[in-house]
């Protein structure tokens, strides 16, 4: 082998390794758009199997697709962005784990089959992306919420129910908020959704902050886990607001 082909082969191998590293494991035609729309051009974005997204292979109800994001295998996660490539509104939610574990479960609306992905940013600024495909017959984003037609529901807007469980490795909190979470994509029904939530402990320490977007399901239900280092969890407070300025403020007891 002469020097020239050897150098060429080396370059080819380098290029192949790079292409492989960049190849979307979910093979989505929309990945390029997601990369450019959701992340800064100079941001480092890598696919990383340590970020796990769990969902049903086939979603029975496109208005309520259960999704769990787990980035706890990554050290030092500061923020997690969840998005669905083929949704008309791609951004689903973002959360900052603060004192909670870097994991969150919730339900989303899917308009058609799509990858559902989570990008976890570590302290060094790198985005680590994991995801899964969810197959669905679709239509989840363009149908009116049940609540938008119900006066009974209007009286209960932003009511919270929830509970705290002791688990071997810490505490689990589940929270449900009454809200239509209208996407604005159903005819004559404007976008009406919870935008911000903060979950704090008895000492007003932030456990987790959540920025929700339109694709989060009606009457959102969040499951979050807290490490055993977080104590004083007889109750937690949840505060926040929707895009019309209605406030959420409630204490959930154990």
């Amino acid at each position: 082998m002469t020097a020239l082909p050897r150098a060429a082969a080396f370059c080819l191998a380098l290029w192949a390794a790079q292409a492989l590293a960049d190849a979307d494991p979910l093979d989505s035609a929309r990945w390029g758009d997601m990369r450019s729309q959701l992340f800064a051009a100079d941001a480092t974005v890598v696919f990383d199997p340590r970020v796990q997204v769990t969902g049903p292979l086939t979603a029975e109800d496109p208005k309520n697709v259960p999704i769990a994001v787990d980035a706890t295998a990554l050290p030092g996660v500061t923020e997690v962005l969840v998005f669905a490539d083929f949704n008309p509104i791609t951004k689903v939610l973002a959360f900052r784990p603060a004192a909670a574990r870097a994991e969150l479960a919730f339900r989303i609306k899917l308009q058609q089959s799509s990858p559902v992905r989570a990008a976890a940013r570590t302290a060094d600024g790198v985005w680590h992306v994991g995801g899964t495909w969810v197959i669905t017959t679709g239509g989840g984003c363009t149908v009116p919420s049940t609540g938008s037609a119900s006066p009974e529901w209007q009286r209960r807007l932003n009511e919270v129910s929830g509970r705290i469980w002791s688990r071997p490795d810490g505490n689990r909190v589940r929270l449900r908020i009454i809200h239509p979470m209208d996407t604005g994509l159903a005819a004559s029904i404007p976008a009406f959704y919870i935008e911000q939530l903060a979950i704090t402990d008895g000492q007003q320490r932030v456990l987790m902050e959540i920025d929700a977007f339109e694709p989060v399901s009606e009457n959102p239900l969040f499951t979050l886990d807290l490490p055993s280092t977080v104590t004083d969890l007889a109750s937690v407070q949840i505060t926040g607001r929707d895009n019309n300025g209605n406030l959420v403020n409630a204490w959930v007891e154990r």
Partner: protein, 314 residues
Amino acid sequence: MKRLLATLALLAGLPIAQAAGFDYQLAPRQIAPATWVLEGAREDFSFANGGRIVNTAFVVTDAGVVVIDSGPSRQYGEQTVAAIGRITDKPVIKVWITHHHPDHFLGNQAFARKTLGALARTITDIESDGKGFNENMYRLVGDAMRDTEVVVPTEALTPGTVDIGGHRFELLALDGHTAGDLAVLDHTTGVLFAGDLVFHERTPTTPHATIARWLKSLDMLEALPFKHIVPGHGPAAADAAPIRQTRDYLKWLDGLLTQSAAAGLDMTEVMRLPLPKIFRQLAVIDAEFPRSVSHLYPAAEEAALNDSSPRRKP
């Protein structure tokens, strides 16, 4: 070339779909005097089975033929009429639809409108959901649905006995699988047509289920003096085993969801719980169980969560 394609289709185990349409290869099986069953595959809807995952049946009386459910498509209904014609010259005089799910009534087009009967609640639900079901069936089973349209039953059936051509039928208005579930007991032959209140060797489906009501209906069915039972899905039987199997599954499912919600499990975790060996034997459980979690877990979760208060309790 045509022969080659036919051979390939045979090798693939597929019905040969030609320009003439989808051939369901309906072969009625007699299970009791005057009573035939068309047993569907214990599968999900697919292009290969054309939606034939359901049991339909007919009773040849002296006055004419009584059909229980018209099947998943126009072609299925038409081929049922043809299959009946190979057994008797008598006309179809009644078609009783057990409930409003698409695999049970989308064959209605093949029958005279005045013969079609269902419970009042089933008629209402076909009016509201039928069109959506039909569109979804095209997506799920494809060309077998060709030219299928929703035909709403005209006669609202009321519970009680009705004598037809030497058979005494008892119509039972039950619910639980859906809001309106018709079961039919032929006292003359002892055959109980249970509709989808009963599944056998096939995982029950729950998109419109209320389990407490469903369990009540199963108790009522088991108390009936039947000799044969035709479930909505899965093989007919000569004892109450299909009823007990359906009840066991529903009780287990209900208990599992209640316990999981009380323990704080997320829906994604419940969908991945290991399934008991006895239920792993049921057809399509890997697809049907997560579906049922999707249908039924939200109510269990709601019951397990506490109301919050506007301020912290001291």
